[in-house]
Symmetry: C2
Subunit: 493 residues, 2 copies
């Protein structure tokens, strides 16, 4: 049997039928949660619940054992206690099941000889013709086939370019939720836990080969084989960006890793330099991971390091300058003729037009912002535009001042006009525009403003503009994008 | 005249009467916005709008000039064009006005000889018996006296321990809004813009002397006199914590500073080392500034560097460990007897109890979390508890699984029970508890979850527990607190 990496993963990602071994009618049990999630997200293949007690769960007939299932089973999802797992896997082998997902924990990560032994057993079984994900994992989310992780019943069914692999199931669960607000779509998301068989190297190889995946991201605590992992990265470095959060790099973190997935996390210095050499975009938190994936999703290849920053409010311009320069980007002054032209449109005081552009007033009319955007578009020394819109809480106040508290906030919003300006300037000059929409009101009583914020964000995102909450987060994500791009030209997003 | 620093600022912070020179009936003009804001927030002294056109604004009689005002005027707020400012200040001197706030811009920050000259004129006038704030500023917010900045009409009227001074008015406006969601209260907040007279040194001195101020925070772009500024800091370093964002430390940032407030921002290396020596807590963004003030508001003196982290989900435990260790804090394992006792309450697999404690399930029942909190309380090797509650989006799913979408989310929340556990453990062991409540759902359709999040945060805050959205932000803020504390014992928060 000499399968390609795509063939290996076919039954795991696109099973025509699956069995949930340990299916349960009890709502709180993994065996119910995962079965219900897969049904609810709308998996269209055959689903066979397996439980010695038989009966019916969620309207499906329960099979007392795997061998009594009449048809073929591509994928088995195991939620039974750890000591029963290897026996069930032997049954899977006899039934010809091609892949198994072991959600059960209690293996290597316990640090006990018994846990380690049980995990070694599974690994040996895997060598005999079945590929195994886990144990101690949350499974696979594949919107194309309708598979989902635990608990991922409300994940999006839309397929997208992000391939994500993670030793943390919780992070997968979080990312699937966060993604919904960001229109971030996945080809596959894989929680692989302890990684006793399928692990980082295989998944990396798969994602490089998978045509549906354009951006690879991962959370790893340790890898099964460092040199192979790095070789795969290096050989493919120009193909697709790889965004990695290597956790557990401190002494304390490394201890935490040991009891989480039983991985060896390795030295920070060695990892940092190896990942850098391998062209990896290294991140250090869930927020940075999300922001960086987001930047790669939304930024076009024309994004470059010379940034024009425009908005109202001096501190944010200063902060943007500090933040961008620290990340190796620049905020160069506009060229002399562009600046002179721009000056004719603005009053002589109360603003600073040089770049960063501070228009002085936080509630900038779109027509004014548009003039600055046009200038930045025209200026050959500028690659990327960052537009800071800080009108939200001010809108709230304006409404109040106009004694119109009964009117919807959206009726005071400049959104349609500013969106149009963004679209037209982008089309005319082919330069990317990043929006900053700060959300500074978190009072319980101002929830309608938050609703308005989300609507506005969604409108920009739908038009292909990335939206960040702070200039620091935007700068950091842009910095990663530009740095990857400059190392790996001609990479095409 | 040999006034104490408190006397100097008395007419600025507690004016019995004020004049708005340049008051306007036009809603969009500064002269209207500031007048309306002061009326709306409920300033109780006499307000005299001044405008040569006379008439009435917001129901108040308008005086054609300052000299026609019948009574005394403590504070003048100027919103007239820059070339008229020095003339108006001469009138203020003649009228015996004690302080002036110049909101107008167009001075030193323009970089023109004319702008610089006009600012020099103001500075010279200030030496003749009037203290001047600005120009190019948003003014003063003093909840005790009912003064507010532009636009701050909806700021809280509750007084609190934070004294904030800032060269950015926009940052003041933001901070006043952010503060409302965080129950962060101010003694005074001062936007001083270019700082032609009253500036960082005076404000720092005032806040050290002011009994109402316990925590000092500031945003500075440059200072009028570096050695004096540092001397004031050093002489008072054990009295009150000073949290400073010194912006414009990069080359580009320094350029932006020049056109924002015309300040000289200085060298990064020199500033970093000087501020460190002066015992200042240095921060680098608005978010870090807010989080750090927040930590000083909520953390008691018993907070220490040895942290117990507890929650469900392995990645977050690993991230917490990495994050805390990088900030010089530690996550030490529980002592042997405590760990053994704890183990008797939990199943042998599916969790890790060593510290960080990963209970495996993101929706941890409060009774389970309480056992870990008790252990951390009892353990003499632990100073501070971080409790991660990640149940929000999961609640949403649970409600759905129970087919109870018509019920309020709060009916599924463990909040009352967990809050009680936090309160009792804190009272019993006198160790601070920090809550992490991640907010990962930002979908437009999930706004009710956000409302629930804010309610839950408010309940914890009202009980005196700080709430952070991410472990990184909590760690950073705690790190600043601990580091200040260890340098400045016996400082009492």
């Amino acid at each position: 049997m000499n399968q390609s990496i795509l063939e290996v993963f076919e039954p795991l990602f696109y099973p025509k039928s699956l069995a949930v071994i340990g299916a349960s009618a009890e709502l709180a049990k993994f065996g119910n949660i995962i079965l219900s999630a897969i049904m609810e997200i709308g998996y269209q293949g055959k689903i066979y619940p397996v439980n010695p007690e038989g009966g019916e769960i969620n309207g499906l007939k329960v099979y007392p054992s795997l061998k009594e299932i009449p048809g073929e089973v591509d994928l088995a999802i195991l939620t039974i206690p750890a000591p029963l797992v290897s026996g069930a896997l032997e049954e899977c082998l006899r039934k010809g099941v091609k892949g198994a997902e072991i959600l059960t924990s209690g293996f290597r990560e316990t640090g006990t000889p018994e846990g380690r032994r049980m995990e070694e057993d599974i690994t040996r079984i895997a060598r005999r013709g079945i590929r195994i994900l886990g144990p101690n994992c949350f499974g696979i989310y594949c919107p194309e086939s309708g598979l989902t992780i635990l608990p991922g019943q409300n994940f999006s069914r839309a397929t997208g370019p992000v391939g994500f692999f993670s030793q943390s199931g919780g992070l997968c669960a979080d990312l699937g939720q966060i993604a919904k607000g960001l229109s971030m779509r996945f080809s596959k998301m894989v929680s692989y836990g302890n990684g006793c068989d399928v692990a980082a190297c295989d998944l990396l190889e798969y994602f490089f080969a998978d045509e549906k995946t354009r951006i690879i991201a991962g959370y790893i605590e340790g890898v099964e084989d460092g040199p192979i992992f790095l070789r795969i990265l290096k050989e493919n470095r120009r193909k697709k960006p790889v965004i990695l959060w290597k956790a557990g790099l401190t002494a304390t973190g490394s201890q935490a890793v040991m009891s989480h997935t039983g991985s060896l996390s390795g030295s920070e210095k060695v990892w940092n330099s190896a990942l850098k050499q391998a062209g990896v975009i290294q991140v250090g938190s869930a927020e940075e991971l999300v922001d960086t994936i987001y930047a790669f999703l939304y930024l076009p290849n024309t994004a470059g390091p010379r940034v024009a920053v425009m908005g109202g409010g001096g501190a944010i311009s200063v902060a943007a300058s500090d933040s961008l320069e620290r990340l190796g980007l620049s905020v160069p002054p506009f060229s002399w003729p562009i600046l002179q032209k721009l000056k004719t449109s603005f009053p002589p005081v109360g603003n600073s037009l040089r770049n960063p552009v501070d228009l002085g007033n936080p509630m900038i009319p779109p027509s004014m912002l548009r003039k600055v955007m046009e200038a930045a578009g025209e200026d050959e020394g500028i690659d990327t535009l960052i537009v800071i819109q800080i009108l939200f809480y001010i809108l709230f106040q304006v409404r109040h001042r106009l004694r119109m508290d009964d009117r919807l906030l959206s009726q005071f919003s400049f959104q349609p006009e500013l969106l149009k300006a963004c679209e037209e300037v982008r089309a005319k000059y082919q330069k990317p525009i990043i929006l900053i929409l700060p959300d500074i009101t978190t009072e319980a009583g101002m929830i309608d403003l938050e609703a308005e914020w989300r609507r506005e964000r969604d409108v920009y995102q739908a038009a292909g503009f990335p939206v960040f909450k702070t200039i620091d987060r935007a700068s950091r994500a842009l910095g990663h994008f530009i740095s990857f791009q400059s190392r790996n030209r001609p990479w095409q997003p």
